[in-house]
């Protein structure tokens, strides 16, 4: 006899998963319904208006309604702008935040970037753990970054390597991206922009205390000159704590519609982050470790110009590969072990360098350094051909500004 408890357990464990086909159908119809719910009666309104406005009495009545409407709307507008809530309250509340967990979503990308941040008593960044999905840098693949006291450890999962760097540029870049969503820095920016006439701030404070305060900052076109990358930001602020729960960014699309481009969600305010989160303890045993803080990487710039050293780096790298000096090639290529370089070029035999072109600044903003296009003669299965590798990209080594190396792909 089957006991009742077992049946209860079985029912509790029942689990169905929706099929992709169903998901597609629901999403399509649901989003269409949502879009329709936004447009009150765009199709019918002009027609009704035409019929009503033909009548002279209704014309008079309509004028009266408009006057009342305007008066009312002024009153209502005044009410909403007489802010019981003020952004300063969020700034004040944010100053006591020591721990923060953030998910940063990009429209069209399923996986968010995720950050765990610990601030020191002065509000400065103490520790960061960042999970970066593959879409953020497809050539690198997904990576995990742990940053502490100016030193960053980057675990490239796809490349099975752990790179340690200590560099002002890297720290500045990381801290700049954190500052974009650090509430105590982001909110004063809105106020500053409003003060200079570059943003209009509107606050909606619902009477239902369970619902968030919605603060909309709409930027003027001139704000772009001051580095504001979006056209509108919407903050959702918890009425009790006055802390931000979500921040949305919009760009002005064609047809004067604001289109959501990315959004950030804030979790676990001041919930202490386990110190273990800021230590790598589950790395694969065969991971390749490159410590750029203790080893000399790449080539010394000496008295060469940046373009000259970029060119020299690429030439000496491929010369080393041709000469099978994998140790040197590895040193130039971010200090990758010789065995890894040998493995990389096992099937792709480089015969000679045909040409190396003038270095061009790296096309992706913020990456720095150069792309050095080149042509190589290669041999595969006894057949010779011309090969133009992607890049190669060359820049000064993190933490070793007088040395230059190859980063990214080389084949």
């Amino acid at each position: 006899m089957r006991p009742a408890e077992n049946i209860e357990k079985l029912i509790k464990n029942l689990s169905d998963k929706t099929r992709a086909k169903m998901d597609e159908r629901v999403r399509k119809n649901m989003l269409q319904a949502l879009a329709e719910s936004e447009k009150p009666s765009a199709l019918t309104w002009p027609k009704i208006r035409k019929i009503i406005m033909k009548n002279p009495i209704t014309k008079l009545a309509a004028a009266a309604v408009i006057i009342i409407g305007v008066t009312l709307s002024v009153t209502i507008w005044d009410k909403t702008t007489s802010k019981a809530y003020a952004l300063e309250q969020t700034i004040q509340a944010s100053h006591s935040v020591r721990y923060l967990h953030i998910k940063s979503f990009m429209k069209g990308m399923e996986e968010p970037k995720e950050f765990w941040i610990e601030f020191d008593k002065q509000g400065g960044i103490k520790n960061i753990r960042a999970h970066m999905p593959e879409w953020e840098s497809p050539s690198d693949g997904a990576k995990v970054v742990i940053w502490q006291q100016g030193k960053a450890k980057i675990w490239f999962k796809k490349k099975n390597s752990l790179v340690t760097v200590k560099d002002k540029r890297f720290s500045e870049k990381l801290s700049a991206s954190v500052q974009l969503f650090d509430p105590k820095l982001a909110v004063p920016r809105f106020i500053e922009l409003e003060k200079h006439g570059l943003a209009k701030i509107e606050i909606e404070e619902p009477s239902n205390k369970a619902e968030p305060i919605i603060t909309t900052a709409t930027y003027s076109p001139e704000s772009k000159q001051f580095g504001v990358p979006v056209d509108r930001t919407i903050l959702f602020v918890d009425q009790t704590t006055k802390l931000i729960t979500s921040m949305e960014s919009y760009s002005l699309a064609e047809g004067s519609e604001y289109e959501l481009i990315d959004w950030i969600e804030f979790y676990d305010y001041n919930q202490q982050i386990d110190p273990a989160m800021f230590v790598f303890d589950n790395l694969p045993s065969d991971i390749m470790q490159i410590d750029q803080t203790t080893q000399d990487i790449g080539l010394e710039q000496e008295n060469l110009s940046e373009e000259e050293i970029a060119l020299k780096v690429v030439r000496e790298f491929y010369e080393a590969v041709i000469a099978k000096d994998y140790t040197k090639a590895g040193r130039i290529y971010g200090n990758i072990p010789a065995s890894r370089i040998e493995e990389m070029f096992k099937e792709l035999k480089i015969v000679r360098i045909i040409s190396i072109d003038e270095p061009k600044p790296h096309p992706i903003p913020g990456v720095g350094g150069f792309m050095v296009p080149c042509k190589l003669e290669i041999e595969k299965d006894g057949i010779k051909s011309v090969f133009e590798p992607y890049g190669p990209a060359v820049r000064a080594v993190y933490g070793q500004p007088n040395r230059w190396n190859i980063h990214g792909g080389v084949k």
């Binding site: 006899m1 089957r2 006991p3 009742a4 049946i7 209860e8 079985l10 029912i11 509790k12 029942l14 689990s15 169905d16 998963k17 929706t18 099929r19 169903m22 998901d23 159908r25 629901v26 999403r27 119809n29 649901m30 989003l31 319904a33 949502l34 879009a35 329709e36 719910s37 936004e38 979503f105 429209k107 239902n208 369970a210 619902e211 968030p212 919605i214 959702f236 918890d238 729960t245 979500s246 949305e248 959501l260 959004w263 969600e265």
Partner: protein, 180 residues
């Protein structure tokens, strides 16, 4: 909970991403509930579809009081009842339902679903709907008997009784003690 409230507010403002997040978060749970109540995969999917489309249509005016999950579950229950009524009108007696229709047409799920679960799904369709509703709402939706009683418009003792009878019948069916 807080996250759901925020998503609802965003939906009210026409945010598509928030709408999809709500769907992704609750879809499997609602499908399980719907399938438990209705038995058939296709009808269960239709109910979940209709719940979300209707929710999206009213998103502009929607005010969340309590839990979103409970609200959506209640919508599933109401729509499932409509389906059952329609089915009864069409004289499609549940007992005559072809057991094959109870199997999910999701091949991956069929592979992992044990024979025990398939038997349970079949047994569920054979107990009276009111009893099935109480069993599913209590065990799967985590609703309290008092809430279920309110929803079904019956007394608390009737709800307890329906739960007990439902479980007893399920046990009998699963132990093949019921003479068909």
């Amino acid at each position: 909970m807080l996250e759901d409230k925020l998503l609802v507010v965003k939906c009210r403002r026409g945010n598509k991403e928030a709408m999809c997040r709500i769907y992704d978060k609750h879809k499997d749970y609602l499908l399980t509930l719907s399938k438990g109540l209705l038995g058939e995969q296709a009808t269960a999917e239709d109910v979940v579809h209709d719940v979300f489309v209707s929710f999206a249509r009213s998103a502009g005016q929607f005010q969340l009081k309590g839990s979103l999950r409970a609200y959506l579950a209640t919508c599933v229950i109401n729509l499932a009842r409509d389906k059952i009524r329609a089915r009864t009108r069409q004289a499609q007696v549940l007992d005559s339902m072809n057991p094959d229709t109870l199997r999910s047409d999701n091949p991956a799920q069929n592979l992992i679903e044990s024979e025990e679960i398939t038997q349970l799904r079949q047994a569920l369709t054979k107990i009276p709907y009111e009893q099935r509703e109480v069993v599913m709402l209590h065990l799967k939706a985590g609703m309290k008997f008092r809430e279920i009683a309110r929803l079904q418009g019956v007394s608390l003792s009737t709800t307890h009784g329906r739960y007990r009878y439902g479980l007893d019948k399920l046990r009998s069916l699963l132990n093949s003690e019921v003479k068909e």
